[in-house]
């Protein structure tokens, strides 16, 4: 056997890769998404987050409630959906009081807040993408999102990107 044959027969170690489909715009689920994403990126994983439906709220430039979107209905809907700062918790939201309590507790207990996690994800160059179809429904454009959003994708490209790694749906 030639040396070149031995080299080509060696198992190729795939780079560690984590892909997350961020579907929920809930505060607690976004904390889970960004905790996993930043933790994985920090220990050397290639990380991709594909934001779709409610998840798109997390990457809007306007983090509070704003009439974002093209057209009357998307604008109204966009206002009620809000952005990162108006994300509700998935249980016991108490009309938006719970996210405020969570933020207070996280700061008090020195746990990274959602906003800090998002900033860390940007610094760690976590790859962020927006779902083309959901954007179309909600009348959103790439310019409505933070500039760290790398691209607007569909299913086929996401599957291609996530191939060979682990994929989570949150």
């Amino acid at each position: 056997m030639e040396i070149s044959d031995i080299l080509t027969s060696l198992p190729v170690k795939e780079p560690k890769k984590l892909s997350i489909i961020s579907f929920s715009g809930d505060f607690d689920k976004l904390v889970a998404t960004f905790t996993l994403a930043t933790g994985a990126a920090a220990i050397g994983y290639e990380v991709h987050i594909f934001f779709t439906f409610w998840g798109l709220d997390a990457i809007k430039q306007k983090q509070g409630r704003a009439f974002v979107g093209k057209g009357f209905l998307p604008k109204i809907f966009g206002f009620f959906m809000g952005g990162l700062r108006s994300a509700p918790v998935s249980r016991l939201n108490f009309l938006g009081l719970s996210p405020k309590i969570f933020r207070y507790l996280m700061r008090k207990k020195n746990v990274a807040t959602l906003e800090e996690l998002v900033e860390a994800a940007k610094v760690l160059e976590v790859n962020m993408y927006a779902c083309e179809m959901a954007m179309h429904i909600l009348g959103l454009q790439k310019s409505d999102f933070i500039h760290e959003v790398k691209d607007v994708l569909g299913v086929a490209t996401f599957l291609e990107i996530s191939e060979g790694g682990r994929t989570l749906f949150i």
Binding site: G39, I43, K109, N110, V111, A120
Partner: protein, 74 residues
């Protein structure tokens, strides 16, 4: 060659890894990072992930109580 100190004893997951990684990315090759961390998850995984990412873990020593010091060379 410079030595930089980083105290992550008050941090929790994932910020223990995140702060170490961000600090390492700011250093030049050959620079040293001294990390103060707690035993348990940070002690088990911060040196391990640094090594996996190609950094050299020069030393791990007990400081006091649950605090340990990990010395990493970029």
């Amino acid at each position: 060659m410079t030595t930089v100190k980083l105290d992550i004893t008050a941090e929790h997951c994932p910020m223990t890894f995140v702060k170490t990684k961000i600090q390492l990315s700011k250093l030049q090759s050959g620079d040293i990072l001294e990390v103060l961390l707690m035993e348990g998850e940070p002690l088990q995984n911060v040196p391990k992930s640094a090594r996996e990412q190609g950094f050299k873990v020069l030393d791990i020593s007990h400081v006091e109580g649950q605090v340990h010091k990990v010395i990493i060379e970029k």
